[in-house]
């Protein structure tokens, strides 16, 4: 059998996935913790206060990576949803539905840190600014996927419905983003790319570290959730029974 095909076949099998992800998760957590520790040290002791924003600039190191993650996870959910529906790979269905709470959590963190920053900077916790609004709409899209999944009794049907909804949402997301952008903009522009003065390496390095470490957090959290969901769904199947047998002292 073709090696690539074999790989897909193996990763699609729940027991294999369970064992493999079990080995991977500690490493993901370790890398996440190490990178976050370094980044946080730099953020609190090495990054100078901004000449305009003062100490509140440090909020950015949580806010920006969370906002990036919130969008990336929704995009990934749509891609995994397409794979789940087209090739009927069950692990992908589980991954889609396990991604949704993590993505929603990142969205909430981005919104909360944003309003904590907005209070001293803009003088208010909330404004109907374009990026805040599209982030809020994104949160509702996540809630929709989670609510649809929970409304079904049958887990596999539920996961398929949630996958389909995340694909529909992802098609709409750019349209929502640009229409809201056009509707109202107060948010400060991105510090990346463009012609602006850009961002100094002392400030850039911790931000990039955080951007990468949040991806490891997502990976670790996602795989843990996916394993739990698999065991719950398959609790009567042979491989889970064997697993429980092994764990028993």
């Amino acid at each position: 059998m073709n090696r690539l095909f074999l790989f897909f076949h193996k990763t699609g099998s729940p027991p294999w996935f369970y064992n493999f992800s079990g080995k991977l998760i500690p490493w993901l957590w370790a890398i996440f913790l190490a990178m976050t520790a370094v980044a946080m040290y730099l953020v609190f002791f090495n990054v100078p206060p901004d000449y305009q924003q003062g100490e509140t600039i440090r909020i950015m190191y949580i806010h920006v990576p969370s906002a990036w993650m919130s969008m990336m996870i929704y995009g990934l959910m749509a891609i995994m949803g397409i794979i789940a529906l087209v090739w009927r790979i069950r692990i992908m269905e589980v991954l889609v539905i396990s991604s949704a709470p993590v993505g929603a959590a990142f969205t909430i963190v981005a919104l909360l840190t944003g309003s904590m920053w907005g209070r001293p900077m803009w003088g208010t916790y909330w404004v109907w600014d374009a990026r805040l609004t599209s982030e809020l709409v994104l949160l509702f899209l996540y809630f929709g996927v989670i609510a649809l999944y929970n409304a079904y009794d049958e887990p596999r049907k539920a996961a398929k419905a949630a996958s389909l909804l995340s694909i529909v949402g992802a098609v709409n997301l750019p349209i929502i983003y640009f229409s809201v952008e056009w509707w109202n903009t107060l948010h400060q522009g991105s510090s990346f790319g463009g012609d602006g003065p850009g961002i100094h390496p002392t400030m850039l390095v911790p931000l990039l570290l955080m951007a990468v470490s949040t991806k490891f957090y997502y990976g670790a959290n996602l795989l843990s959730r996916a394993r739990l969901t698999l065991v719950k769904q398959d609790h009567r199947k042979r491989w889970v029974q064997d697993l429980l047998e092994e764990e028993r002292p």
Partner: protein
């Protein structure tokens, strides 16, 4: 039994839906009564100042239209699902996307078009200036089919759930955001004599995108609900 052509199936379904709609007239009037009641609540809530009402008129009318549409969406596939008609439609061998499109067209004609026809009355209540009325009608004519098209996906996803109605609004309202923004800003621009062609053009693009993509998503969701 010989297989009917796609066009015959489409028109036969439309005729059936109109007949069913005609027999359930009272049910169809409910969302429209809802539209009128919701719009009445706004002047009562924010005060009768003509200027204030004129300012919020496009948004109020459009939001009332969204709510009324979502109210009628829950029944879009439900009775066909419950009495097994939907299964027969799937087994008929006709394209399910075409069947979905036919349901969407009939939904727009019995639920969307009446909203467009009622909107001059709402515009008068909300004191919308005369220049705004024709453009409000245009946005509603372009926009209400999009509401039916996107809403059908949500209706198909929730049809097998017992209490799908509340969930349906959570699913489709975020997807309606771009349409609401474009429509209200077009009307707002027309009232103060600014160009509004861009917004209308984008709405039309949205209509074409929804028309080409939504029937397929609806069909996939229906298949899933029946599995």
């Amino acid at each position: 039994m010989s297989k009917q052509s796609a066009g015959t199936a489409f028109t036969a379904l439309l005729r059936r839906d109109f007949l069913l709609a005609y027999r359930r007239r009272a049910e169809l009037l409910q969302p429209l009564a809802f539209l009128l009641v919701v719009t009445t609540l706004f002047p009562l809530g924010v005060g009768p100042s003509p200027q204030l009402l004129a300012d919020i008129a496009p948004g109020v009318i459009w939001i009332a239209a969204l709510l009324a549409t979502v109210l009628s969406l829950d029944s879009l596939f439900r009775s066909d699902f419950e009495d097994g008609t939907l299964e027969q439609m799937v087994m008929s061998g006709q394209s399910l996307s075409l069947i979905a499109l036919s349901r969407i067209v009939s939904h727009w004609l019995v639920a969307g078009l009446p909203i467009v026809l009622l909107s001059p009355l709402l515009a008068m209540w909300m004191n919308l200036p005369g220049e705004g009325l024709s453009i409000l009608l245009q946005t509603l004519i372009i926009g209400t089919p999009v509401l039916s098209l996107i809403g059908a996906i949500g209706g198909a996803l929730t049809v097998s759930l017992k209490r799908g109605g509340q969930l349906l609004s959570l699913l489709v309202f975020p997807l309606y955001v771009p349409l609401l923004i474009l429509a209200t800003s077009a009307v707002g621009a027309a009232v103060v004599d600014l160009p509004y062609g861009g917004q209308l053009g984008l709405m039309f693009a949205g209509l074409i995108a929804a028309l080409t993509l939504a029937p397929f998503a609806t069909a996939a969701a229906l298949k899933l609900s029946l599995s």
